[in-house]
């Protein structure tokens, strides 16, 4: 499978020494009656990595996480952790800590008792236990909140207690199920950095489920983009953004222009009446394709006719978004198609671009990605 190949290339590009993976998921399938929630998932995660499962709701990312935790056992397939086959083990026999969106803090226990919960009942001496709890609360910046009940803490503080509780038993694997989505925007951004820094410091292998692409892009070593129960792409945030493997990924991550075209020959695609140079990735002439280009990659230039990949367009709408303007571009040359471009604010001012202005724009060949057009993807 092409995807599998891409994945391995991706793992090496991270620049890690290739070791035996800490977590190896092979050919995992989960069905609920006639519905397939996970469709033949294979994935490897190395020790100390921070991996995000990213996708729209219902894509199977949470199901995959719960299968790894042993909460919903997969229908078929195999999961190995640290060389041990854990496929059929109940959650209590597996080695992980988990944090939920709701935190699931025990409301009748103080923050310190919550953190201590997993340590009690073990053979840990009392003094050591107290010390460990203090350490963890300190680590989370909650030293003075140990005696408060969850209801007396803010959302961000509750989240950190939940994290401390999950880490208390020093699990080999940390699972985070949409841990930040119940928080308001400012706290969320702050906690992103905190969790990431903490994970780096402790070196604990971490999997986070999220539907927030910004969260995944800023936190993850690698992102696993999922759709309809299958993995669409695995890669570093930069790869996922720059070289989306499918129109779905291209559309789901960031903003993307999609334009219908046809391959003319190797290295050229016809778009309306214009011909654009780009890498056609070995597709035969005559193949119907979708061109994709990000709005920020469209460049306004001075209109030298010799430039290749230049289009003459009219500005249909111009929306001010702070540091840049988002422009809707239309033109005869583009055969009526509409392109979105993000134009730097000072450039728009300098060139006195307004609605109805006519511009010449460049679509840099190395920024254009093309996908064979299927009736499903637009």
């Amino acid at each position: 499978m092409g995807k599998a190949l891409r994945r391995e290339v991706g793992a090496e590009e991270v620049g890690r020494t290739v070791t035996t993976p800490y977590l190896r998921i092979s050919r995992l399938t989960k069905t609920f009656g006639a519905f397939t929630a996970l469709d033949d998932i294979s994935l490897e995660i190395v020790e100390g990595e921070f991996v995000c499962f990213l996708g729209p709701s219902g894509c199977g990312k949470t199901t995959l996480l719960r299968a790894i935790a042993g909460l919903d056992i997969q229908t078929t397939g195999r999961i190995e952790q640290n060389g041990r086959d854990i496929s059929a083990l109940p959650p209590t026999k597996r080695d992980f800590g988990i944090v939920f969106q709701s935190y699931a803090l025990f409301p009748n226990l103080t923050a310190a008792r919550n953190v201590a919960y997993g340590l009690e009942n073990t053979r840990m001496p009392r003094g050591e236990l107290v010390k460990r709890v203090h350490e963890l609360l300190d680590l989370m910046g909650l030293a003075q909140h140990g005696n408060k009940y969850p209801a007396q803490l803010s959302g961000g503080q509750q989240q950190r207690v939940a994290l401390a509780r999950a880490l208390a038993t020093s699990p080999g694997l940390l699972l985070l199920d949409e841990p930040l989505s119940a928080l308001d925007a400012k706290v969320r951004v702050h906690l992103r950095h905190e969790i990431r820094a903490l994970q780096r410091r402790l070196g604990v292998t971490t999997i986070m489920v999220t539907h927030d692409q910004e969260e995944a892009l800023t936190m993850a070593d690698r992102i696993v983009v999922m759709n309809a129960g299958a993995i669409e792409q695995v890669g570093t945030p930069l790869e996922i953004y720059r070289e989306p493997a499918s129109p779905f990924v291209a559309d789901f991550i960031g903003v993307m222009n999609f334009v219908a075209g046809t391959v003319v020959r190797d290295g050229a695609v016809r778009l309306g009446r214009s011909e654009l140079a780009c890498d056609v990735e070995g597709l035969a002439a005559g193949t119907e394709v979708t061109l994709a280009i990000r709005p920020e990659d469209i460049v306004v230039h001075d209109g030298g006719r010799s430039e290749s990949n230049a289009l003459t367009v009219r500005v249909d709408a111009l929306v001010f978004l702070g540091s840049f303007f988002r422009a809707d571009l239309a033109g005869d040359a583009a055969a009526g198609v509409l392109l979105r471009a993000d134009l730097p604010a000072d450039m728009v001012r300098r060139r006195r671009i307004t609605e109805k202005s006519t511009l010449s724009v460049l679509l840099p060949p190395e920024r254009i990605r093309i996908y064979p057009r299927s009736p499903v993807n637009r």
């Binding site: 935790a69 909460l71 109940p90 959650p91 209590t92 597996r94 992980f96 800590g97 988990i98 939920f100 709701s102 699931a104 025990f106 409301p107 009748n108 226990l109 919960y117 997993g118 009942n121 009940y149 969850p150 209801a151 007396q152 509780r165 999950a166 208390a168 038993t169 699990p171 699972l175």
Partner: protein
């Protein structure tokens, strides 16, 4: 966990499923236990003296429902939609009937409208003994049940709907018909069926004040106690099950839809003062409140005078229960024992059972059957359950028959009789807890029972107290469930009321009924104090 489900499941099977099954079988047997098919039923329907009870039962039930539900609805409207004073007081007053056995309104009505009654003239020559008396007593008994359901439905009102209606210049009546009533319709349907079922299956009121007017519940009693015809008793029981099961199913379906209504986020409604409306509502509540209290007051008054209404000299003679026809003071202490045991054991069983149904993982079939059995008692009238217990526990072949006529069987029966409401209360509390508590505990390698003990039980403590008081109050007042299975040493206060009424010692019966009332009031107050103390202690970790 499966082990626990199995143990409590076995309890449900032994205390509910097997007895009921055996009773169904009995209704198909002759007097020497031979199989006779539907012969008993054929005989029942071809004996007009028996089968006319069906019409009688339906008649009084429908009439009681038609009177009670609108009265309760208006009362609930006054409590939630007006700013009249003393709303809390009137709510408390309306709940008084829950604390007395259903025999008490019958006794009070005899004093008020009986042959020597104060208000006999108000009946224009009709006798209180019969449908009139039954309906009046049933309205008293079922009023708080209907009120609580309608109150819950009206409490869901969305202020935004009222604001929108006012902004559209709708008149008060129009708002009532287009906003209030539709919002409460599921509550009204539910109240209707609850009242109907309660009346159809009630035994106390028709026994005391029904006179020659036979209904299904008294027929079961007469067949079993009077004629020792157990097969025919079983037949009537099965017939009595039909409307109860039907009403139960409709109610479940309706409640399921009301949940969907709840999920929308609503802004709570706050009524504004409207002097005339508030005054009218106050007047209405005063009238109803007085009527309810007068039933209790007349019983207490009659219990402490020599011979009501002729000799009003005060006396404690009627409290000398040991010299009367019932079980004496011993029966009162038996009731307290039963109520305490039922409340403690019942709460533990019900709560653990609900926990297993809600929180266990896997074993879906077992949990499904368990839940069904837990819901079933709601549809089974007490008399039917009691009769089923005779068949099951009195059978010589049953190793459990050592329990027959002991306190244990009374406790088992009473827990089972009131199982469903407790089960639902516990489920509601458990469902409000984060479903991930168990998951987190598992990831921390903690056994489930530790989380149950450290987290689930403390968080659900208020609900378990509610279950306990519910079990206690009902164990004090129930007659129908236990009337077939008490023994000479285990006679209960409520049974004593029945027996003293039978022997004509009505004043003593009223006195004993009032003892039950005061005990329940005391228990309620204790519950309130405990709940308050608990709330104060756990304030730190409870939101709001």
């Amino acid at each position: 966990m499966r082990l626990f489900i199995g143990v409590i499941g076995l309890y449900l099977v032994a205390a509910l499923a097997l007895p009921l099954g055996l009773m169904l079988a009995k209704s198909l047997q002759g007097s020497r236990d031979e199989f006779v098919g539907l012969a008993n039923y054929v005989r029942y329907f071809s004996t007009p003296a028996l089968s006319q009870s069906i019409g009688n039962s339906l008649g009084v039930s429908i009439l009681s429902t038609v009177i009670t539900v609108p009265l309760a609805f208006l009362y609930a409207d006054a409590l939630t939609r007006s700013r009249m004073p003393f709303r809390g007081f009137f709510k408390t007053v309306a709940l008084v009937p829950i604390l007395v056995p259903s025999l008490l309104p019958g006794l009070a009505l005899v004093y008020l409208f009986g042959n020597q009654g104060l208000l006999k003239a108000a009946l224009f020559g009709h006798s209180i003994y019969g449908p009139i008396g039954i309906v009046m007593a049933e309205v008293f008994t079922t009023f708080p049940h209907a009120l609580l359901i309608v109150l819950a439905a009206l409490a869901l009102a969305d202020a935004r709907l009222y604001e929108a209606a006012v902004a559209l210049r709708a008149s008060r009546p129009k708002i009532f018909w287009t906003v209030t009533l539709p919002g409460a319709r599921y509550g009204l349907i539910s109240a209707t069926f609850v009242v109907f079922t309660t009346v159809v299956t009630d035994f106390g009121a028709p026994k005391v004040i029904g006179g020659q007017y036979n209904v299904l519940a008294t027929d079961v009693y007469k067949q079993v106690i009077g004629q020792q015809n157990f097969q025919m008793g079983a037949v009537v029981s099965v017939i009595l099950l039909v409307p109860a099961v039907f009403a139960f199913m409709v109610d479940r379906a309706v409640r399921r839809r009301q949940v969907a209504l709840l999920s929308a986020r609503a802004v709570p409604y706050e009524p504004k003062p409207q002097p005339l409306f508030d005054l009218l509502m106050l007047a209405y509540c005063v009238v109803i409140g007085c009527a309810l209290l007068s039933i209790v007051a007349i019983s207490q008054f009659a219990a402490v005078v020599k011979f009501f209404p002729y000799n009003l000299a005060l006396t404690w003679a009627h409290y000398d229960f040991d010299q009367k026809g019932g079980g004496g003071w011993a029966s009162y202490y038996n009731s307290i024992r039963l109520a305490l045991l039922t409340s403690v054991v019942g709460t533990v069983v019900v709560f653990v059972g609900a926990y297993l149904v809600e929180k266990a993982r896997g074993f879906a079939l077992g949990r499904g059957i368990f839940h069904f059995l837990a819901m079933l008692p709601m549809a089974v009238p007490g008399l039917v359950l009691g009769l089923a217990y005779i068949f099951f526990f009195n059978a010589p072949a049953n190793p459990l028959n050592v329990l027959y006529r002991t306190m244990t069987i009374l406790v088992v029966n009473t827990i089972m009789h009131f199982y469903t409401v407790g089960h639902l209360t516990a489920l509601t509390a458990l469902r409000q807890m984060d479903p991930e508590f168990e998951t987190v505990s598992a990831s921390l390698k903690q056994p489930f029972y530790r989380t149950f003990w450290r987290v689930t039980v403390p968080v659900c403590l208020p609900s378990t107290l509610d279950i306990a008081i519910y079990m206690f109050v009902n164990a004090m007042t129930t007659v129908s469930g236990v009337v077939f299975i008490y023994g000479p040493k285990t006679e209960l206060a409520s049974i004593s009321v029945l027996n003293m009424d039978d022997t004509g010692e009505i004043a003593s019966a009223a006195a004993m009924a009032m003892m039950i009332f005061y005990t329940n009031v005391g228990a309620r107050m204790l519950h309130l104090i405990l709940a308050r103390a608990l709330e104060r202690r756990t304030q730190a970790w409870r939101r709001r």
